[in-house]
């Protein structure tokens, strides 16, 4: 018997496993079909996504364009911090925003001590779970999502997908383009804990607030409907 842990474990596992070619395994897997996804709270993707963001204890705003988006960021910062201090990832989508329109000039990079709010641009929004997806890297440093007091996310309506299977299709397309990122983050709400007496508290380690700004056409009614679906209206 080999003294190597690897060869010993793999030998035991192989002995208990069945051998098949990679091709036939892939066929067997395909044969198992696709997992059922959670039903969407409504057929319209934007509404369903917003409703789930709200159910995840996020806050949400809808805007019709980039200029309105930066104004919404400015308004949120002013409401919570009475300041316009903001750190944002080095994402071309964020760099190209008309920041002057809102009098906000983000610092692009990773969060520094004392910076209360961070901004990310979502690669995808998943209606099924109300989660946004980012790749770690300079366009979205993980510390920005994790160490800020409030995490603000811009989501383009065109980036919404219905469920997690569709999200992986989008993620894999992006991976083909840019390679495997170090981390893929699905974020769905402010950091929370129920570890003391089961009571839910926000801001366990990460952000206390999570704000999603959805950019798209004619979304006002979608937000209203989402509030109703989330039981907030």
């Amino acid at each position: 018997m080999s003294t190597s842990a690897r060869s010993e474990i793999l030998a035991r596992v192989r002995k208990a496993s069945r051998g098949s070619s990679a091709e036939s395994l892939s066929q067997q897997l395909q044969g198992l079909g696709v997992a059922p996804a959670a039903p969407l709270p409504c057929a319209e993707l934007a509404t369903a996504f917003l409703a789930n963001v709200l159910k995840n204890q996020g806050s949400a705003a809808v805007v019709s364009g980039r200029s309105e988006a930066v104004k919404a960021v400015g308004a949120y910062l002013y409401k919570h911090f009475r300041s316009h201090r903001l750190v944002a990832g080095n994402d071309p989508h964020l760099a190209a925003m008309p920041w002057r329109d809102a009098g906000v000039l983000p610092r692009f990079g990773s969060i520094e001590p004392g910076e209360p709010a961070a901004l990310s641009y979502a690669m995808l929004g998943i209606a099924e779970t109300g989660a946004i997806v980012t790749f770690t890297g300079k366009s979205s440093p993980a510390s920005n999502n994790l160490l800020s007091e409030h995490h603000i996310v811009l989501v383009d309506q065109a980036k919404l997908v219905a469920n997690m299977e569709q999200a992986w299709l989008g993620i894999n397309r992006e991976i083909e383009r840019v390679g495997r990122p170090r981390g893929i983050n699905f974020i769905a709400g402010p950091s929370s804990t129920g570890d003391i007496e089961g009571k839910l508290v926000y801001g366990a380690h990460g952000p206390r607030g999570w704000h999603v700004i959805l950019i798209g056409e004619a979304l006002d009614s979608a937000l209203q409907e989402a509030r109703e679906l989330a039981g907030l209206a």
Partner: protein, 586 residues
């Protein structure tokens, strides 16, 4: 951690003596199933999803050799070190080696039941390292010097008042109120933020490993695991070989079940997939990443008839729904994994000798199997462990003798029904006045805690026979049989449904056909009823493994010592996994 499963009964009595904790557990027993049920109802297709994920996981386990190797190749390609550990000692030693290679003193740790299993914290602390658990629940019990009582909410046994006292004692932060739970969470956040920033090494677990891409999946609400994975210069992911799934979408399909079963959410706040060290243009993330893949008897379980247990996704639903767990709490089980899943895993991962009380800590109510998102036949596996105990003479001789007598009696249905008929009639007459007994010979175990209700006059079989008699008008010969159950005691009074071949009475009296799936037996039959096994003296028919015919029982290790170990094995990619230069580290 020190195992005390062998004193389960004493532990349980001790736990039941604390009225406050009993009340807390009673509340949890109401609350946690409600939120799980609501989440599953919202999903709507629990069974379809459960079957899909089960098939995928069974496929993964059936071909674990292939998928584990594929995962290793991809993880190496992504720039990780991949280590294997045969047992807890190997995992602990490997982790310590890595920490020492980097002269690390401060370790930030995310929640990981695997490292609880191996006792990693104690091991590292004995070597002079400072280890901080960063999951709030784990942090609380670490400060209190306790062990987890629940695999999802490790500190749910503690009240806010107890935690307040603990924090006032442990945190040197001057006089303060800490009146609200939010204050306690805020203080832990403040204290732990420093620990994250100071740590040289982060250690986390993994909820799944993805073979096609070499990513691991981490599911948290607090974000503490992600801070451990992103801030320190070195990341070590400790997990087990059975966590491998073929594709990313398989991991998120499982996630749908995991989160709803564990916390009643549709999605946790953070679901993160990590592939390795930081990339060329990245501004953050660890510079070096390691996977330590633990076996610790999983490969034995894989080859045994208990292999379904490897499908467990550690959601804790079986704990929340178990009358024994919610009665006595997690600590009574005496090791890392409590409740129904723990009563199977503990004997398999340690030894049946050390934990033979655990498989008996079961009412066979079947709730665990009903809610298990992995569809593990938990009551069946527990029953098989009980058979194993009897076979290996681990249970008390008196108990075995009683079971033997009962088994013999159950194989003689005429005598069985006659004797029970007499006993029931006698008890009925004796207890007619009061309707209950506060004392009964040979039943002190029952009557010391509660009254025994007086039987209402006839046995179930006698009543059943009467009912059949009333329901069945003549001529009965052409009517189809309603059931295979046919009363023995009442047979002389009941009209014969149709002529029985010789020996049919014996067959018909059998409560459960031998070919019926074992799960149904366990869910329906009371613990002491005659099971197919006690009738035949052979192990009960288990569902055949999907990969072939039913195997004869293959025992797992049950604590046999492993071969003398050499160091855990390690591989490193030669393509992208070059170790960083010291300049890059600093």
């Amino acid at each position: 951690m020190r195992q005390t499963s062998d004193t389960f009964l004493e532990n349980a009595s001790h736990a039941l003596a604390d009225a406050d904790k009993v009340q807390r557990r009673d509340l949890m027993a109401v609350f946690t199933p409600l939120i799980r049920d609501a989440a599953m109802e919202g999903f709507g297709q629990f069974d379809a999803l459960r079957q899909h994920v089960k098939q995928v996981r069974q496929h993964s386990l059936d071909h674990l050799g292939h998928y584990l190797t594929q995962f290793e190749e991809e993880a190496l390609h992504n720039g990780n070190f991949v280590h294997y550990a045969r047992d807890g000692n190997e995992l602990n030693s490997r982790v310590l080696d890595i920490c020492q290679q980097h002269s690390a003193r401060h370790i930030a740790k995310g929640k990981s039941m695997v490292t609880e299993e191996t006792g990693l914290n104690d091991f590292l602390e004995r070597a002079g390292l400072s280890v901080t658990e960063t999951d709030l629940g784990e942090y609380i019990i670490q400060q209190a010097g306790e062990t987890p009582s629940h695999i999802v909410g490790p500190a749910l046994h503690k009240s806010a008042a107890e935690i307040r006292e603990l924090f006032l004692d442990k945190h040197d932060l001057g006089p303060r109120e800490l009146a609200e739970i939010t204050d306690l969470v805020g203080e832990a956040r403040q204290v732990l933020r420093d620990k994250f920033l100071k740590a040289e090494v982060g250690i986390i677990g993994a909820n799944a490993l993805i073979a096609e891409s070499g990513y691991s999946m981490l599911v948290t609400n607090e974000g503490n695991g992600d801070l451990c994975a992103n801030l320190p210069k070195v990341l070590i992911i400790c997990t087990t070989i059975d966590r491998v799934l073929p594709r990313a979408e398989d991991a998120t399909a499982m996630l749908r079940l995991l989160v709803r079963s564990a916390t009643g959410q549709a999605q946790t706040c953070y679901t993160s997939f990590y592939s390795g060290p930081r990339r060329e243009l990245d501004t953050d993330g660890p510079l070096e990443t390691h996977f330590v893949l633990l076996d610790n008897h999983r490969s034995d379980i894989l080859a045994s008839d208990y292999h379904e247990m490897l499908q467990c996704i550690r959601c804790g639903a079986c704990l929340n729904h178990c009358p024994i767990y919610t009665g006595v709490g997690g600590h009574a089980f005496g090791w890392v994994y409590p409740g129904p899943m723990g009563s199977i895993l503990t004997p398999l991962l340690t030894s049946l000798e050390q934990s033979n009380a655990l498989p008996n800590a079961c009412t066979s109510c079947g709730r665990c199997a009903e809610v298990c998102p992995a569809d593990i036949p938990i009551p069946d596996l527990l029953r098989d462990l009980r058979h194993e105990e009897t076979r290996r003479q681990l249970s008390a001789p008196r108990w075995r003798l009683g079971m033997k007598l009962h088994g013999w009696l159950a194989r003689h249905p005429r005598l069985y029904h006659r004797l029970t008929g007499w006993a029931i009639t006698a008890l009925h007459r004796l207890g007619r006045k009061r309707g209950r007994f506060s004392r009964l010979p040979m039943a002190e175990g029952w009557t010391s805690q509660r009254d025994f209700p007086a039987p209402q006059g006839k046995t179930f079989m006698q009543q059943f026979a009467l009912q059949q008699q009333q329901e069945m008008p003549s001529p009965v010969r052409d009517k189809p049989r309603k059931t295979r159950l046919r009363p023995e005691a009442g047979r002389t009074k009941a009209p014969r449904v149709k002529p029985s071949p010789p020996g049919a009475a014996k067959t018909a009296s059998k409560a459960v056909p031998a070919d019926k799936p074992a799960r149904a037996v366990a869910a329906k039959a009371p613990a002491k009823s005659a099971s197919p096994k006690s009738r035949t003296g052979k192990p009960p028919a288990r569902k055949p493994r999907s990969r072939g015919p039913v195997k004869t029982r293959t025992e797992p290790h049950f604590g046999e010592p492993l071969e003398p170990q050499s160091g855990a094995d390690e591989r490193r990619s030669t393509t992208t996994g070059k170790p960083q230069e010291p300049d890059d580290v600093n």
